[in-house]
């Protein structure tokens, strides 16, 4: 009886929690409210108190079904994770319980960022409905921050398209513009291009939210010269961290720094366009020389990969969320058992292993040939297989969330996993002499594992880390292990005390490497 009462109370409080952060589909979120205001405090466990992230006792999983659909889909962006090492299934380890919590957080984040920019619910989305992260009021593309000439900018500045795209953009300023640089077609560490089954390049892009932008502007990190300056020689780059409001309150939280990295497939058929989230885009091709403006191609792009990097106050090594389209590639065991779909974006089920070698990079050169547009120069098509399967728990959660997204293109996306720093004390460690003006005061000297035990150890998206899948230490893709080595252009001051420690790490992002030279300097443009 007592347990039954507890269960009823838990359900009631859960409904209370949901009502605090939701609106019915007809009462959509106001578009003017910034992302993460208020913070989404939902977690994978039913909470004891609607305004507190503490789970009910005994722990119960938050239902993700028709009864909670509207509330979850409109619950907003989490400012930080709400996870515990507990859960109703006592056969699971604390690590598995926390992984479930992080995966739940990732789905909430995915839904919040991909909800329509106009404030309507994601269940109202059409394939080409502009999302919140595509709205320039919420996120800026990397090259709109790292401007030519190393110039500063304001968040409100209008998008300046490359000259070759200007006339088309002016006619429709809502279009996405992708400016081709090497990182747009070549994967991390220059491991190769990804070519779809229609022979087109997959394209990659990086965006940041306002908190990231403001920090970069404040410290002038948009400029290579400013990064190298004496003023920045002592700067420990420490982006803002997301934080929930104080316990029991709704207001007062902030999402902190968020970076989004996406991969796109060029869509050519109407049938394809119904399965993907799409954008109408202008692709400015690589610049060949200083005098000729590169051509600008108008394309429909379909979202195939979606990464979110989010720094939070208890996970100062960031939380790494990885989604992709369900039709990208098969898993290895599906290939081995021949349980394959009729088609994939990056795998041909009718081609044998001898002809279409699995997970091979394309033949050189990888750079797009201007005369071919975005078509690859040879008949090669990528034959990609997922090496590390999703866990059963993640598949189960995907099914639940895909269920409440049914009828929209978003049901065609799946979470691969969420990588998070699992050593708690290490992950939230702040510097030993915190200063109020330097929040979050991340301890940047932690040793011996600056990544604080990433869980899972490896994580690869088939479209974004295609050629570094697997579980070979230091060779296979680990978000944190890779980004932990990211650096800026900062240099130690010649006058610095030789015994003082110097840092030129860039807080887990490679974005700062894209800072431009000042106009007229010898280094030239990096574009």
């Amino acid at each position: 009886m007592r347990n039954n009462s507890r269960a009823v109370l838990a359900v009631l409080t859960f409904v209370g929690v949901l009502s605090c952060f939701s609106s019915s589909p007809s009462q959509a979120q106001a578009p003017s409210k910034p992302l993460g205001q208020p913070c989404n405090l939902l977690s994978d466990l039913v909470q004891a108190n609607p305004r507190s992230p503490k789970p009910a006792v005994p722990p119960r999983l938050t239902p993700v079904d028709a009864t909670t659909k509207n509330s979850i889909l409109n619950s907003g962006l989490p400012c930080e994770e709400t996870v515990t090492g507990d859960g109703p299934d006592k056969t699971k380890t604390p690590l598995e319980h926390r992984q479930r919590g992080f995966d739940f957080y990732s789905w909430l984040t995915f839904i919040a960022l991909n909800s329509p920019a106009d404030g309507s619910g994601i269940d109202q989305s059409k394939p080409n409905t502009k999302t919140k992260w595509e709205d320039r009021a919420n996120f800026k593309q990397l090259l709109d921050v790292m401007l030519e000439g190393g110039l500063p900018s304001n968040w409100e500045d209008k998008k300046q398209p490359p000259p070759g795209c200007k006339s088309q953009f002016d006619a429709n300023p809502d279009m996405m513009v992708i400016e081709m640089i090497e990182e747009t077609f070549n994967q991390p560490f220059k491991t190769g291009a990804l070519i779809d089954q229609q022979g087109n390049y997959a394209l990659f892009d990086i965006l940041m939210n306002r908190q990231m932008f403001d920090y970069i502007q404040k410290h002038k990190l948009y400029s290579k010269a400013e990064q190298l300056s004496a003023a920045n020689s002592g700067l420990k780059i420490d982006f803002p961290a997301g934080v929930n409001p104080p316990d029991g309150q709704i207001e007062g939280g902030d999402p902190g720094g968020i970076i989004v990295k996406v991969s796109w497939k060029i869509l050519e058929s109407d049938q394809e366009k119904r399965k993907f989230h799409t954008v109408d885009a202008l692709v400015s091709m690589l610049r060949e020389d200083a005098t000729t403006e590169p051509p600008c191609l108008r394309k429909t792009l379909g979202l195939v990969g979606f990464h979110v990097m989010h720094k939070t106050k208890n996970r100062l090594q960031w939380i790494w969320t990885s989604f992709e389209h369900v039709d990208n590639v098969p898993e290895k065991k599906e290939v081995d058992s021949r349980k394959l779909k009729p088609s994939y974006s990056f795998y041909n089920p009718r081609c044998n292993a001898a002809t279409c070698k699995v997970n091979e990079t394309p033949p050189w050169p990888w750079k797009p040939e201007p005369s071919l547009g975005l078509k690859f120069h040879s008949p090669f098509k990528s034959q990609i297989v997922r090496v590390t399967p999703l866990t059963d728990d993640t598949k189960k959660m995907n099914k639940q969330f895909q269920g409440i997204l049914k009828g929209t293109v978003w049901e065609n996306y799946m979470l691969l996993s969420t990588q998070w720093p699992s050593d708690f004390l290490c992950a939230k460690k702040q510097t030993s002499d915190p200063k109020p003006e330097l929040a979050p005061n991340t301890d940047l000297e932690k040793e011996p594992d600056m990544n604080c035990a990433p869980a899972p150890t490896y994580l690869a998206n088939s479209t974004l880390e295609t050629y570094s899948q697997g579980s070979v230490p230091l060779a296979s893709s680990s978000c944190m292990a890779c980004h932990g080595n990211a650096a800026s252009y900062q240099q130690a001051s010649p006058d610095a005390n030789p015994t003082s420690k110097f840092f030129n790490q860039s807080d887990f992002t490679f974005m700062l490497e894209k800072a431009r030279e000042k106009a007229g300097s010898s280094g030239g443009s990096q574009r």
């Binding site: 598995e96 011996p448 230490p473 650096a487």
Partner: protein, 230 residues
């Protein structure tokens, strides 16, 4: 763990002959281990059969390993929790820890597959001694009493420190016939290579694998306690 068991009078690494045998596992061996690890990487990870051990067995393995290596339980097995306290361990309540690397499971399976009867005896020693006033010493005293447990325990020490397996029979032969050929070893897996404690004790990292911070080489190493918890 309050004190390294290796500093005690009955510690494993004792005696001239035995010192020499143990001392053979030095830089050269570690370098050879790196080469072997590369080979291991190329052929894939070790097979890990479904574990038949109980939660209590894993707890005992962590206690045994901490006693043998001198490295804190929480470092060998992150998130290890002795309940109700570290001096009054209830095997039903306590948590052997869960972490994403989980090399302890790989090691447990490895030993259990090759030397199950003796391994079971070692685990029982740890269970029986879990609440002794000097747990590490109590375990070591029992381990040292029989050749089979003594040499398997040495193999386990080397496994934790080097990520490699030295067969206990070879280790015994080295002690009894010092002129015998050096013991052969097998790197257990790429994961085991990266998790070897020898280089962490030296406040360093294995060749080809580092979780340390970019630029760490320009600064003095962090205190040893940050690496091994003691």
């Amino acid at each position: 763990m309050t004190q390294s068991p290796h500093s005690g009078p009955n510690a494993i690494a004792q005696g001239r002959t035995e010192d020499r045998a143990v001392g053979a596992f030095t830089r050269r061996t570690v370098l050879a281990g790196a080469a072997a690890a590369t080979a291991a990487i190329s052929v894939g990870a070790v097979d890990s059969p479904a574990s038949a051990q109980s939660r209590q067995d894993m707890l005992a393995f962590v206690l045994l390993s901490a006693a043998l290596t001198g490295i804190a339980e929480g470092k060998l097995a992150p998130n290890f929790h002795a309940l109700p306290s570290s001096t009054n361990i209830d095997l039903e309540q306590s948590d052997p820890g869960s972490d994403p690397v989980d090399v302890k499971q790989e090691y447990f399976d490895w030993v259990n597959k090759r030397h199950q009867p003796t391994f079971r005896r070692l685990l029982q020693f740890a269970k029986d001694s879990r609440n002794a006033s000097d747990r590490a010493q109590a375990i070591i005293d029992k381990v040292q009493a029989r050749p089979d447990t003594k040499y398997l325990a040495r193999s386990i020490v080397l496994m934790w420190y080097l990520g490699a397996w030295y067969d206990p029979g070879h280790l015994q032969a080295l002690v009894e016939h010092p002129s015998a050929a050096p013991a052969k070893f097998e790197v257990i897996s790429p994961k085991a290579y990266t998790q070897g404690w020898a280089l962490r004790v030296a406040q360093a990292h294995p060749m080809g694998f580092s979780e340390m911070q970019f630029g760490y080489w320009s600064r003095p190493p962090s205190p040893r306690g940050d690496f091994i918890g003691n």
